[in-house]
Symmetry: C2
Subunit: 327 residues, 2 copies
């Protein structure tokens, strides 16, 4: 009987751990979600992952090709350790080695956004496309690039930090320390911050948004702004207008630089305001170089929260199961 | 006797045609420069090139691997024709076929900036580096990217339009039709335009620059501004301060997106103001993500005006002589 190659894919983020048994066609089962309690420290999180994995492996009738982990942080490409993860609060933390030792299985660790890009490329909106840019617009903004059929890695494994493209060098400060980054205009945290500032400066104009947030200024989030926008609130419209302009400026830069066939937009902000996509598409077609947009499509991401799990799992299947060189 | 593989490299720009006999080690001889008289139309320019090539070939003791042309325009990758060249005034112009027919030799045609990037990568400041970004800051700004040991091409052969990275979406109009492009702040034409505007608005402040230009406002060029800057003229300093900020914003975006090991800066503006490089380097180290700059070097381009000739010639040697797949 033909035994299918499979792997376990894990997406380890600042708020939750997603894992599942992933097949080579991108399908998955035995999905498992756990909260990431970062405050408990790295050892506790690693123990929790190992326990979940052991349970999952016990139920399996054949061994997996390995374990693939997409992790929200900078990964040492050779050691599979974590240089730095602001979301998890980790610094110079060993990871791959410990999992391999505990499970006696090969483990691959990559950045979570790169894992999600692989997922979308192989089994989502990027299927059978050799040139694409994925932009995930959530609380922060991250990205991944496939060019000429290969995912870009960069010299120190950090290519694709597309949220930190400067769109206005006179712009507001970003969490990265620079000013005017795309993320500082259009990331979820920036939208929330901008809304809170505007409400404080003009209580009357901010009333509707404040009401949606139950009267609590600190509860005014990007979601609240999206809700206000849908109800036609002028302040929310003003904020989203800026978000739109920043996203057009940023994506025009990306299209001119990478000349992708597809620009794939995902993440929580896009899920909350899917209508943004057609504005961005129209803006790009108007403002990017014609040569760079002749065949460009702007598409929504397809795999939602599971992109990272699928990408990390399939990376292991392709690399360890099918011996392809991906990274 | 060992016969070295060689090729003819051509750089066909809006003002001049450079060509030379190029060897696989990047050395060249029989350099020939002709003015490009764009007004005479494409047929005359092609005839001139063919005549020069025939002369060069007659002097040779062995046949070349082929002819490589870097051309200032958008090239059809498959046909080797020219979609559009604003500098030459060409539109949908056949090119490769006609040269091949006239010379009975294989011809490869690529964009001139990509040719210069190949030259710098193989035999200039990018030697033995797998991840680099070249930025050529002249009258316009163009670029090329090598990532993971391969030059990026994009879906429709136009990757690397790095001068049209938006650095300030509220910024001045660019020749490309968009606003706030890096080129619209730091390209030679933009520097000249900005200086002319400022002089007209304030004759007293503009006096020194106007004098350098022989009293003619239309002669105030980027070179004039560079000269004024060196003499300590306050207006020139103000303009170059903006140029510097724009270049830092743009290169920070590129470093965060591509994570290169080397950022190579070339072109006439850099040649006129080589001190810009250390400011850009310091700005990047301060503002780009730490993960993207751990091993970054910011270097001046090495091959000057000959980068395109060397790159186009060596592309032919690698591709046709050594059968490597480059593009």
């Amino acid at each position: 009987m033909f035994e299918e190659i499979w792997a376990i894919g894990i997406d380890l983020g600042g708020t939750k751990i997603e894992m599942a048994r992933v097949n080579g066609d991108g399908s998955y089962r035995q999905r498992l979600t756990r909260p990431t309690i970062a405050a408990r420290g790295p050892a506790a999180i690693k123990r929790e992952i190992i326990t979940c994995l052991k349970d999952m492996l016990q139920e399996a009738d054949s061994p997996p090709a390995g374990i693939g982990v997409g992790l929200a942080g900078q990964i040492d490409r050779h050691k599979g350790s974590v240089h730095f993860s602001p979301n998890l609060g980790w610094q110079n933390e060993p990871f791959r080695e410990e999992l391999e030792e505990a499970l006696k299985l090969p483990v691959m660790v990559i950045n979570d956004v790169r894992a999600a890009t692989l997922g979308e490329w192989w089994h989502g909106a990027g299927k059978s496309c050799a040139d694409l840019v994925c932009l995930f617009i959530g609380t922060g903004i991250g990205g991944g690039v496939v060019s000429g059929g290969r995912i870009l890695i960069g010299d120190s494994n950090s290519a694709g930090e597309l949220g930190h493209t400067t769109v206005d060098w006179h712009g507001p400060p970003c969490r990265c320390g620079n000013k005017g980054c795309l993320e500082a205009w259009a990331g979820g945290w920036a939208i929330a911050q901008r809304a809170q500032e505007l409400i404080i400066n003009n209580r009357a104009a901010g009333n509707a948004l404040l009401n949606i947030a139950g009267g609590k200024i600190e509860e005014v989030s990007a979601q609240v702004v999206a809700e206000g926008f849908k109800k036609g609130d002028p302040l929310a419209r003003q904020i989203i207008e800026e978000v739109k302009e920043a996203l057009i400026a940023g994506t025009v830069s990306l299209v001119n630089a990478f000349n992708p066939q597809r620009l794939i937009l995902g993440g929580g902000v896009m899920a909350g305001l899917p209508e943004l996509r057609k504005f961005i598409e129209a803006g790009i077609k108007e403002r990017a170089l014609r040569a760079a947009t002749v065949s460009l499509e702007v598409l929504p991401a397809k795999l939602g929260n599971m992109a990272g799990v699928i990408g990390a799992g399939c990376l292991v299947i392709q690399t360890l199961g099918k011996k392809e060189k991906i990274l």
